[in-house]
């Protein structure tokens, strides 16, 4: 439960602040008539600018259509393209790898205290395989 004394202390600060938010502007704006004149001028000046985008997008539309066509042409090529059998294929490179038991010893070196008996058992098991 909240302390009522604390609430009593908090209330005035919040109320004063809210009152400040609600109060009239410190610097009043220009009078209504001049404001409406400026607004009418702004509207009259903005109207032609707003019509401009109707003419402009033709270039952008053409660009977007061209980009879409290129994209649509490339996608099937990526998915359905098959390798040409006449073209020489790069030779497969087989990397030589160390024997398996050597790998186990290499791994064992990384872990101190690895059981040597278990290690030899594992090596024998792998050799039989």
């Amino acid at each position: 439960m909240k302390d009522p004394k604390q609430n009593q202390r908090k209330a005035p600060a919040t109320e004063v602040f809210d009152q400040w938010l609600r109060e009239d502007a410190a610097n009043p704006p220009s009078d209504l008539q001049s404001f409406q004149e400026r607004l009418s001028a702004r509207i009259a000046g903005t109207a032609p600018q707003q019509r401009q985008p109707e003419r402009k997008p033709w270039g952008r539309r053409a660009l977007a259509v061209a980009a879409s066509l290129i994209f649509l042409a490339i996608i099937p090529m990526l998915f359905f393209a098959k390798p040409n059998p006449e073209e020489p294929q790069p030779p497969h490179v087989v990397e030589s790898s160390p024997p398996l038991n050597e790998e186990i010893y290499l791994i064992a070196d990384l872990f101190e205290g690895f059981d040597q008996a278990l290690l030899s058992d594992l090596t024998e098991l792998l050799e039989t395989l």
């Binding site: 609600r22 704006p29 607004l39």
Partner: protein, 180 residues
């Protein structure tokens, strides 16, 4: 004979008439909403000149977007959504400019030193709040909008609108309390 009840409100009706080309209806709308808009922008921007400019921009946008207004929506929510978009554009533009002239030159003048101190204290506290939380608080306290209207104006959920207001208060309260 009494006037029929208009839904959603008189301002919404005026905007519908504006969309039909009624300039007198738009003038009435301007007369009704110019000062609330100005107060909203002034508290958001700390500048009377910028506030008036944004009033002009918002009402110009409102005029051209009048046809997009849906009469079933509350008008204040629609108006302040347009206003907030203008405010955000203004902030973005300001960010690309040098910050030296933003605050100190435009701080609203108060008549006495005591009032000026309080004004500065509250302005500083309000500045500490993020834009969306500050706007939610201003719409709630200054403009008296309902939570549903605030949610619609900010394009967030009802619970998010309440949380934004609560967050703004959480930031402002200790700043104000410590200095009052």
């Amino acid at each position: 004979m009494s006037e029929p009840i208009v839904f959603p409100d008189e301002s919404g009706r005026l905007l519908e008439r504006t969309a039909q080309g009624d300039k007198a209806a738009f003038d009435k709308l301007v007369a009704r909403w110019r000062l609330p808009l100005f107060r909203f922008f002034e508290k958001s921007l700390y500048s009377s000149a910028d506030a008036e400019e944004l009033c002009l921009q918002t009402l110009t946008k409102l005029y051209f977007k009048a046809a997009q207004y849906e009469a079933t929506r509350p008008f204040p929510a629609y108006l302040f959504r347009v206003a907030r978009n203008e405010l955000i554009s203004h902030y973005r533009h300001k960010q690309s400019l040098p910050k030296t002239s933003e605050y100190s030159d435009h701080r609203p003048a108060a008549p006495s030193s005591n009032l000026r101190e309080i004004n500065e204290l509250f302005t500083d506290a309000l500045r500490q709040v993020d834009e969306i939380n500050r706007t939610a608080l201003l719409l709630h306290v200054q403009q008296g909008l309902a939570y549903e209207e605030i949610a619609e104006a900010l394009e967030i959920s009802l619970s998010a609108a309440k949380a934004r207001i609560r967050r703004a208060r959480e930031i402002i309260k200790p700043l104000v309390k410590a200095n009052l």
